[in-house]
Amino acid sequence: MLKSKKIVVLGHFGVGKTSLIRRFVTNTFSDNYKVTIGVHITKKVIEISAEDKVSLILWDLEGTDDIVSIRNSYLLGTHGAIFVFDVSRPSTFQQLSSDLAILNEKLPKVPLMIVGNKADLVSEVEVKALFEKYALKVDFLTSAKTGKTVNELFLNLALLLTADA
């Protein structure tokens, strides 16, 4: 059976939301930065099991420094969410806990993945130090550039969303 799930991808400006989706959907990457305006929608159908497929409708939201300002109507009916920050730019994760609190209010009971992207720009040692310093709790460390754990991120979320339904 084919199910459809709406997934919103959000986070601060330029953290790599669009790049992550592009890597997942078309397996490509570009160094050119094209700001997302409004929302861009793409989809990818993935097989979960022999009979079950899920069609992920990915809502790539424009970046915002202020999570509160995200348009609520874009979040309606969301099945799953991905919050992305940039491991190389502390400004994108310094207020992570308050950002997440707002998100939980806006998206109650919606499974959420916390993703540190651009892992290729920072060494593992540095990442560890950062996580300790800011007490970060992260589900996936990804790189849209190298493709590291990008598929795993989306696949995990898809499994999570189809398990309960």
Binding site: G38, I41, I57, G77
Partner: protein, 283 residues
């Protein structure tokens, strides 16, 4: 020799030549006069003959000289083909082009006539039955309002629940999401909770949006979408909603019948229903 003889002799010596000369001259003048007169007379007679002959000659050139000229030309042409082609190409090229264009025009007009012939009778028959005049029907044909696609979309998530389409061209799931995003954006921007976005125009299409409790329908229409078309379309949509969708998707119950059973809906079932309502709907 007497005196008289001497005088005559002297006269002869003195004047003989002159006399002869005078006689010669007068003879000559007479001859010339004669010739001139005769020529004038002659030309009167000869000129028409000459003119006639010339005319005859002109007429007879093609038969008399023609073959010779042609033969000469043929030889010249075969000996200088390239030169001839160069000389004739611009003229022939134009002629050929014009000819082909003309033929094409003729052909296409013939085709149009034939197609037109069928369409003509179709309209005639329709006009006798519908009572509309033919011009109106021709315009109708050009602007005919057609339902191209129907999308049944979950309001919040923008997820496509079912669709009916005449030709599969777009990714309906992505379009459904996009439409929902546009709808949310516009409705948010105007910040009026009880107002819904009703129509989106996209290139040659109009997308009519009809809201229900938990779902909305996006109907893609081509042609002129008049107020009367909109009313007819809404009738079809509401028919579908009342007889099928309300019970099964919106969980709105017909309290007069006291029925509260919800039939689980399969996409294939929904699409069968959509097709039933929208395939032959005239709007």
């Amino acid at each position: 020799m007497d005196e008289n003889e001497k005088i005559e002799l002297l006269k002869d010596i003195l004047f003989a030549n002159e006399y002869e000369f005078e006689e010669k001259i007068s003879k000559r003048v007479a001859f010339l006069e004669q010739t001139l007169k005769e020529r004038g007379r002659l030309s009167e007679k000869v000129d028409p003959i000459i003119i006639h002959q010339i005319e005859e000659f002109k007429k007879s050139i093609p038969t008399t000289l023609g073959p010779t000229i042609t033969k000469t030309l043929k030889i010249e042409i075969s000996n200088h083909k390239d030169a001839v082609v160069d000389a004739l190409y611009p003229i022939l090229g134009k002629m050929v082009k014009k000819y082909v264009a003309q033929e094409m025009k003729l052909l296409s007009s013939q085709m149009n006539n034939q197609l037109g012939f069928l369409a003509f009778w179709k309209r005639k028959i329709r006009s006798t039955y519908s009572g509309k005049n033919e011009q109106a029907l021709i315009l109708d044909d050009l602007n005919e309002t057609k339902i191209e696609q129907v999308l049944l979309i979950e309001k919040d998530s923008g997820i496509l629940k079912a669709s009916f389409t005449k030709s599969e061209t777009i990714d309906e799931e992505m379009v459904s999401g996009m439409l929902t995003a546009i709808k949310s954006f516009v409705e948010d921007a105007f910040n009026k909770k009880d107002q819904d976005l009703e129509l989106i125009e996209y290139e040659l299409y109009q997308i009519h949006l009809q809201n229900f409790a938990t779902h909305y329908m996006a109907v893609v229409v081509s042609g002129t979408f008049s107020l009367s078309s909109k009313n007819k379309l809404q009738d079809v949509i509401f028919d579908f909603y009342n007889s099928y969708m309300a019970m099964n998707l919106d969980l709105v119950f017909d309290t007069s019948k006291g029925s509260k059973s919800i039939i689980p809906v399969k996409r294939s079932q929904l699409e069968k229903e959509l097709k039933k309502y929208f395939l032959n709907a005239k709007i």
